[in-house]
Amino acid sequence: MSESDVTRKGVEGARPGREALTGARAGRRRRRRGRGEQPVVPDARFSSYYGKPVLNKPTWKPLDIAGYLYLGGLAGGASLLAAGAHATGRPDLARVTKLGAAGAITVSLGALVHDLGRPARFINMLRVVKPTSPMNMGSWLLAGYAPLTMAAAAADVAGRYRLVGAGATAAAAALGPAVATYTAVLLSDTAVPSWHEGYRELPFVFAGSGASAAAGLALAFVPAAQAGPARRMAVLGAALELGAFQLMKRHIGLAAEPFEQGRPHKLLRAAEMLTAGGAALAAYAGAGAGPRAGWRGRAPAVAAGLALLTGSAALRFGVFHAGVHSAEDPKYTVVPQRERMRARAG
């Protein structure tokens, strides 16, 4: 296997041949990724086995699992809005959020099963009850939550069995926040540095992100007269998401670096701008002196809604890819562990 290339400037990347020094290529790694971007932390010197990762990286497909995280958050937040709308008599808001929650959780369950190596055995998830496995707890949670959202949506659409519908709506709202936040534990309960180290703040990031996504859904599809709570949820959710994420990046040391590089960085910058912009636009749409008729009056709210929905998705994909990157580079495993050992030694 040769790594050399013939370029206009001569041969590049050629092996040293007879002049090779023992171990010159082993143990150290000087590969630099990205163009022109300066690392947050200066390059730490560390040993590794030919730059090979210590960990095996997650085998999860990004679209399935990051999509699942996103849709779970969207559904959880939407269930809260649905219960509030149901209780305060906002039928349009209730209809959209109930349907949204049921649809999102159905698609996310499909993504979860699709990601399994043996999809036909998905029911094995419910073979045991195991609190040490967030995925097992999540399966039980979804097994309870998904039928509730579907019952709530079905009762709303059919306009019958109102009592059952109200009960299901309330129960789904009780489970919704857990559905939106347990996915943070799912990621954190791994050896992946950028996921594990953020275990204190990540649930709050996901809670805020779920709220802003659900608010986005409502803003995009519900008339302004009934979307007041969604506007407020957009602002509160965005503040929680962005604040908790900043806090997390400040607390986790070197494990924050993958969030600031390459594709995760682009996704997370986009998420920040879309979420902050969407929340600002939502606040503006609310301040716009009451509901105006026609497309012109709805435009800011629809734009805000779409921005919030996209921003939340970008956040989940960014967090997912940053974690995979931190598992692929031995630096993020070795350097913090060495520091920890040094600190313990005194």
Binding site: V54, N56, R118, P177, Y199, F204
Partner: protein, 349 residues
Amino acid sequence: MTEGKTTAVNAAGGDPPPSRKLFSGPQPNVAQAAGYPDAPPRMGFFTDTSVCIGCKACEVACKEWNSVPEDGLELTGMSYDNTQGLGADTWRHVAFIEQRKPLGGQEPGVDHSGFDVFEAARNLGSSPASPGPGATAPSPESAPAGAPAGSISPVSPDGRTELRWLMSSDVCKHCTHAACLDVCPTGALFRTEFGTVVVQEDVCNGCGYCVPACPYGVIDQRKEDGRVWKCTLCYDRLGVGMEPACAKSCPTDSIQFGPLEELRERAAARVAQLHAAGVTDARLYGESPDDGVGGDGAFFLLLDEPEVYGLPPDPVVTTRDLPAMWKHAAMAAASLAALGFASFVRRPR
């Protein structure tokens, strides 16, 4: 990460009852805690890399016995190691590291041209300088003068640079607190009566959660099959009193199999012997029950830092922090519920 929680968990209340499963810290009776009242002694591996010759017999024997499929025929170009690392189809992996360092009492630059090997063979065992068959290391007294430090130079008198090869056969560590087992949502991964960790392939649904949970990067998913696979410590052989295939095939006894307690004693003696012989680099890895995974069922004697071999220097089982994770998630869920409520509360006019 910086809060040093390891000690906090360990310090909580002296000797734990052996029957309770703990999240981290020492756990003397791991099989009993997993529900085997009359468990046999915990079995494991002690891999003494100082005598590994890199023959890869362990890799071959493992594949043969366990019918592990081919794991890619490629030449890496980085060393003799074309296996690269542990995975679904690689349960033993021999690492090769080349270093410009002398090994223990090695004396570079000695002229051997006048040395008669047949004469030396005839005198085998007749003097302390020529130990008989069965002696694999010099006794502490016969260590070369000045071996620990000083007189050994990495450059021989004729200007050649010195070289040592580190070879080490890596394997699943069969942790006392195994993250893969903890996070498995189906119960496919289980603790055997020998204290080892094994995947039940008829239960595994290929969710892949154990893969990023393992702090050593051992277990992985077999793409064409969907399920995850790893070393079973030859559970089928153990059951009938046989040693695992890799240990059986190891020609230098670098891979030693036995009751963990016995292996730990043997390892401590071996380190002391190597230190006395001037190999000050020798150290045990994964042997201490006080480490982040509660000690490994398969531990190692290394001649350099663990990360040089591709091992994490201070691995911690991720589920040690799981109670705190659930707590934070519960607080976040409560915040989200409060946020939802606040969105509907009418501002007072």
